[in-house]
Symmetry: D3
Subunit: 145 residues, 6 copies
């Protein structure tokens, strides 16, 4: 069987702020612009999770979408309707840019899939695509093996 890649889209809404405490106000504004404003702002994020593998001959599936949705929903409950800087543990040192959030979500989704019991072998997490707006998105393919 040939390898295919299946992707599913998920939505969540969060707020965030770009700011480095060790920088001056001016430096924060110069680098981060409006994103440095103190009370933050937010987005409707769209997360696309892609899994590659050979479809199972019996089910025709790379991965059962019930499993994929279960794992990703379990991750996104910690991000949806939250403030990324204040309500999650990932951005005390790192700025919650789309780039950094994409790699955080890769790690969380990979761990949630690995921890979910009963998913048959034969798949691998292949790509995370994270849209911050309709016009801006980041792709991450994991660390090279």
């Amino acid at each position: 069987m040939p390898e295919v890649t299946i992707s599913r889209r998920f939505d969540f809404s969060s707020s965030h702020r770009y700011y480095r405490e060790e920088w001056s106000e001016e430096e924060n504004t110069r680098v981060f612009g409006l994103c440095a404003l103190p009370n933050g702002h937010g987005h409707n994020y769209t997360l696309e999770v892609s899994v590659s593998g050979e479809p199972d001959p019996a089910t025709g599936m790379v991965i059962n979408l019930v499993d994929l949705k279960g794992a990703v929903d379990g991750v996104l409950i910690n991000f949806d309707h939250k403030h990324l800087n204040l309500d999650t543990p990932y951005f005390s040192e790192r700025i919650p840019t789309t780039e950094n959030l994409a790699t955080v979500l890769w790690d969380e989704v990979a761990a949630a899939l690995a921890a979910r019991p009963g998913i048959p072998d034969g798949w691998r997490l292949a790509r995370i695509r994270l849209h911050e707006t309709e016009d801006l998105y980041v792709e991450y393919f994991g660390e090279p093996a």
Copy 2:
């Protein structure tokens, strides 16, 4: 000349929180769900502003889009990348629901258009459509004359 309606879409990103101080924590959560969380969350809003009138025979325009864009951009600079509860004066008493935000934006856009010099007569603000997400939007047509 017959009347037509021209609509232009604008984007902005804000955060907000639904919470009534005079209610208990439980009541806030019962009514507002995840929107009551303390640090807020955010959205990519899409605002559609519609203006009706007879196209000017010389220009073929109901309103010059330079004027429409200028007026609306002047309004949205106060909402984009802001926290609606903390950074704007409109939501100390009112909850920043899509419903309430739509009527606030109507008033602000109407005032900005009225204050802009040099717009020829013959148009009226006809509709505000405000998308909070792809799946949720509010329409407001102003108060009946």
Copy 3:
């Protein structure tokens, strides 16, 4: 308080067939084209439900979206992943065109909202918009009072 209209989008997938038993094969094909094929075909429908009213001063809501979603989800469970002709009771006489499906969904959504306990007064069902494809949709505003 002025009246606003809030709309929420829902998705479901169904199959259907256009066919009148009392017509000849030729007549069915002449009128319904490929839609008359015996084994049916299907669509990803998008249903937009619009409710009008004055936002409640305390909550800023025309209707709590938990109630709207609860009522509409309760309706769509009978249509999603179903064959409209074979699995629902509405299309034994009527053809399941987008037009007819829109009026069926209006009746079902109106009944589900009326039957849901605890929704405060002050709203009315204002519009149903049903997309059969990205390029084809029907609007229905109910019967004139």
Copy 4:
């Protein structure tokens, strides 16, 4: 039977220029901006044609989409891949703004539907919605009766 409105979307691509010969270069640029440039520019237009009526009890249709598509395709063949100022007769005096193009298309579509043989009675052209870009569109509802 209640009245419903059915809408179908059509695409075409044209170029155009905004320019009044009797105005100075400066006046054209002041009013029309980049649209006054001599060699024109273009758009992917999206035309939505809406027809209202009571669905026929036998067919469930306000109008057979074969008829609607046939009539509108017969109109758009004169606009698609054309220069609106140079290749159509409508814009020698009028500027091809989205406003003016919408009213021209209303007249053309209304005439094409009226001229098409065999469409059963009971429908009326209800709305033209013309998108020039994703962010700009015009609605026209015909002249008041």
Copy 5:
């Protein structure tokens, strides 16, 4: 000349059912959920076909879109407005999942392009992307050479 990839989107509507006759009812429901319901359901599929190659210096084209559209339309006529299980020969053993349908469409499109007379050399089928819904899609790149 450098290699580029050109992609064109096509739409079709089909119905299908996920069910293995050799499995119990319970097993079918456990694995396939609502997709196992007896009368099937359907989708508006979107097929994106991508072809790579060096643009011809004279025409600026990797492949003439008339040829690409002709070949793909000739394939999709066998899927559009059909029931994938009952009206096509591909799914008597295989489940018509998006994964399996994508590989079937690759084979059919590749064969149709190879059989079409007069397409100049220099292109190769590079990717099939098949959307079952807005939120779910499969990519297939063919078997490794």
Copy 6:
């Protein structure tokens, strides 16, 4: 730090014509169809520019979007609201197909990014995706190193 790819979408509107002077009228029409018509037509193009690299640990960015937007806007000012054949120097010999326009835009964007002062190292232009319509797009990844 792992490598990620960030993409931003830009819009512009242009007109063009496909025609080779050294070919007969018949040959031009046979190959280019409606695109050979003398007065041209136009599109709303969407350009997606993708840049890859390791996010800077301090800023969380592969490239500051102010720099990316500045560079690309500086390129697109020469294409927006222009006639590609008549108003740009790139298509006297080459046909302005989406394929050829994509490679031209790669060269221009790469040069504009290289010429912009103050962009920290660590990024590379990774992909150009150019949409001519919603249904047609070209991807270009540059010449192999």
